[in-house]
Amino acid sequence: MPIKVEIISPEKVLVSRDVDMVVMPGEEGDIAAMPEHAPMMLLLRGGTVTLYEGETPTDHYFVGGGFADMTQTRCTILADQAVPVTEISIDAATARLEALTEAWESADKSDVSRLEGLMSKIQSVRAEIDAGAGG
């Protein structure tokens, strides 16, 4: 029995189809959504979402953080931004990483919430570069 997966960014729906398993980067570790999984809502970090048909991974998408809503029959991923891994521009991502690292260096080290925000952005861009290089 397949599970219906949807990857939605604010601008559009990227994927909407049936697959057998979805592995996604949860904030506290990767999680796989399979049919009959207990309903769950989770926060996503920047990373790769992999769609499986049977045992084989078929598609990889990079999501830059977001939320996921799983039930027994469907899995909805609300991504802050999402791109197929093959369309990642590593150069652009590297440039963004440099800008962020610079912001991190110059940021006020006592402003914890800003530092946390920057850190998660840096993590997300690193994950994007890794995903682009691997895919």
Partner: protein
């Protein structure tokens, strides 16, 4: 009676006006189609967001310490109004409807003894409101309209509003935007964003559904979802408004083109009558001259 030369000049000028309005109509029609596609593409995200928020808020109902974005500050004293207009005119009643609704809302709130603050989006609304209510405007955003609205515009706006809320600048936040019914009609609609009214979403939790698990936990998820939801709602309002603007402009320009056509017909008729009258006069002069000889 205007001379033939004057009439010719007027016909010429109305004709070129007609060319311009009909070109603007075509452009608006093309942009409208794109804007509508965008607005439709953004809907699934907003719908899924609402579903998740409903689920989450339902499971947290009755708890204390709900975030301000959801529950508000507990007061109802200071209202922040965000009217969304376009940067450009020539769109019929599109902007003036919003401005009128905004003004009426300000009057009503003030007569109830509330404080009103304004954050107009779009040049037309800002220009209009700064004439009468300059002291109420806390901030304004211009240049969001344009061709395509990036999501970042909405998230900047959301961040701005959240910062104002956290600074205790207002209690209730309402967006006033043109809801896109169809090409002919855009309805100025107030939409309250803070506190978030979740009544309808909460009213229908599925009793058969198993209890949700949350990771990390409800509080953290809610804190992350709410600002996002604010941005998404803003984004949806901006997109609807953009589609409405093109629709309104298309209708207005269609009317203008038709009016210009009518004016040309009328002027042409006057022109021909005048021409014939002149010929008749000339003939009478010649004939009576010939008879006198």
């Amino acid at each position: 009676m205007a001379s033939l030369k004057e009439l010719r000049a007027r016909i010429g000028s109305v004709k070129s006006t007609k060319k311009i309005t009909s070109a603007m109509k075509m452009v608006a029609a093309a942009k409208l189609r794109r804007a509508q596609l965008h607005a439709e593409a953004a809907r699934p995200y907003a719908a899924a967001m609402r579903r998740m928020l409903g689920e989450l808020a339902g499971s947290m109902a009755g708890q204390d310490g709900l975030p301000q974005l959801l529950a508000g500050t507990g007061n109802d004293r200071v209202h922040l109004l965000i009217p969304i207009t376009s940067d450009r005119g020539l769109a019929g009643g599109f902007n003036s409807n919003i401005n009128r609704t905004t003004r009426l809302t300000i009057r009503r709130l003030q007569s109830e003894g509330k404080t009103v603050k304004l954050l107009p989006i779009g040049r037309k609304g800002y220009d209009y409101l700064s004439r009468e209510y300059a002291d109420l405007i806390v901030d304004h955003v211009i240049g969001v309209g344009g061709k395509e609205i990036p999501f970042s515009a909405a998230s900047d706006l959301g961040a701005k509003v959240t910062a104002l809320l956290e600074a205790g600048q207002f209690d209730v936040c309402t967006v006033i935007y043109n809801q896109f019914r169809n090409v002919m009609s855009q309805v100025p609609t107030p939409l309250q964003l803070i506190p978030l009214g979740l009544d309808e979403a909460e009213a229908k939790p599925d009793p058969d559904a198993a209890q949700y698990e949350f990771e990390p936990d409800e509080q953290v998820l809610l804190e992350r979802l709410l600002p996002r939801n604010l941005q998404v709602q803003m984004y949806a309002a901006l997109l609807e408004s953009a589609a409405g603007e093109q629709g309104a402009r298309m209708t207005a320009m269609d009317n203008a083109t038709r009016n210009a056509g009518k004016a040309i017909d009328r002027l042409t008729q006057t022109y021909n009558r005048t021409r014939q009258a002149n010929i008749t006069n000339d003939l009478i002069e010649i004939i009576s001259g010939a008879q006198a000889v």
